[in-house]
């Protein structure tokens, strides 16, 4: 390993896998938890799903600093907007505020965001806001470096009108598959479910996820393996 060339001062970037999915009643947002500085994992348990209002959350990817500052500004504006309006902001308004900042500063920002939430007018909605500041409403959205590995998966696995549990299982499976192949994604899978009843946060640690191709069941130690099967211990 070339210790001389790793850049430990590289900007914090969330390689990331982020997902937002609508179901019949609301939305499920999901993300991995790895924040990297070059090749070093600066935070292995970050929370990339950030609250904008009581009913609208955003999944952040790309530059950690840029995505944090954009969501901070949008939270600030939405707070004032809610006071003026006298009722919860809609998902569309939140998403358009994110777009405004992303588009106006397109040359300086490097962040892709997925805004998802529930409001009483439109129900559950997901808006993708990639690099450049395009806003696009979608039944589901994927983003971050890990999403490259999920286009085919979603083409096959996505169905209209899923239940809350089906949607969440789909999100967890997808993030877990992306983590398996994307070096910039890893750690735990976090999900946030938003519907008329409120918001639920879930946490799926690495050891609770399914094993994929060429992955092995984690063990405490080789010694356990050796002690378990006595007759033919070392069989490589």
């Amino acid at each position: 390993m070339d210790l001389k060339e790793v850049n430990l001062s590289a900007p914090h970037s969330m390689g990331t896998t982020i997902i937002g999915v609508t179901y019949n009643g609301g939305v499920v947002l999901g993300a991995d938890s790895r924040t990297s500085t070059g090749v070093y994992v600066a935070n292995r348990a970050s929370d990339k799903i950030t609250q904008l209002t009581d009913n609208v959350y955003v999944c952040r990817s790309g530059s950690a600093a840029d995505s944090q500052i954009v969501s901070d500004y949008v939270r600030y504006f939405l707070h004032q907007h809610t006071i003026q309006l006298g009722q919860p902001a809609t998902v569309k308004v939140a998403a358009n505020l994110v777009r405004l900042i992303s588009y106006s500063n397109k040359n300086m920002l490097q962040t892709g965001l997925i805004v998802g939430g529930w409001d009483k007018y439109e129900g559950g909605k997901i808006y993708g806001i990639p690099l450049g500041g395009t806003i696009i409403e979608q039944p589901f959205a994927i983003g971050g470096s890990g999403s490259s590995y999920l286009y085919g998966f979603f083409d096959q696995a996505w169905k209209e009108g899923m239940t809350k549990d089906e949607a969440e299982q789909l999100v967890v499976k997808a993030v877990s598959l992306a983590i398996a192949r994307d070096g910039a994604s890893g750690g735990v899978v976090r999900t946030v479910i938003i519907n008329s009843e409120g918001v639920t946060r879930n946490f799926y640690p690495g050891d609770k996820l399914s094993l994929w191709h060429e992955e092995l069941e984690p063990q405490n130690s080789l010694l356990d393996i050796l002690n378990a099967s006595s007759p033919e211990p070392m069989n490589i």
């Binding site: 500004y73 777009r99 405004l100 900042i101 588009y103 106006s104 500063n105 397109k106 040359n107 300086m108 993708g128 990639p130 690099l131 450049g132 500041g133 395009t134 806003i135 696009i136 979608q138 490259s148 286009y151």
Partner: protein
Amino acid sequence: MDSNQAAKQHSLVGSEADSQRTLYPYVTGTSVVALKYKDGILMAADMGGSYGSTLRYKSVERLKAVGKHSLLGASGEISDFQEILRYLDELILYDNMWDDGNSFGPKEVHSYLTRVMYNRRNKFDPLWNSLVLGGVKNGQKYLGMVSMIGVNFEDNHVATGFGNHLARPLLRDEWHENLSFEDGVKLLEKCMRVLLYRDRSAINKLQIAKITEEGVTISPPYALKTFWGFSAFENPTVGAEGSW
């Protein structure tokens, strides 16, 4: 309203001294093709939004009505197209507020867009789009194009991007004055099919829009059949094993 002022007013974070410039496009739309026919204009575009070489978004509407008399199709950076639609919303709003019985026709909208695109180009801050503007007002059909550097012109048939190379030769050959609606649609579909075969950013999901004196109609999304039944396709290396 000066477009630069509009951009500055929207900028919540960047300092006024920074000149914003779209350096390179991120999410892009491919060709738009349009032609004049007997009753007005027909315009076609697929619904793809590419992210580099990935065909990332497959339901992007790239044809939009503008006011009562015009239809706008765009290729290039989608975020810039969305911003142009906001500028046009404001333009049409102010036009309506005059409440004087007049409304902007396609010539006026085309002229506005040309000024916006050319002025941004002069500031080295282009809107990264090629726009096709068509419409009918008082019986007069109009079809024009504006590029990201402000080049603009009118013609009986126009195309952007790849369409210039693949569709326009077909149009030059087969277009004639007073095409019927059916013939116009068939000709556009012929162009879109060729683009689907030969443009790697094209997807098989398109919309065709028509604008006449009566108004704008944009078709629902649909897909075209493609033909692969040439014997040369099935066995390309017969008689020359090892070749391709």
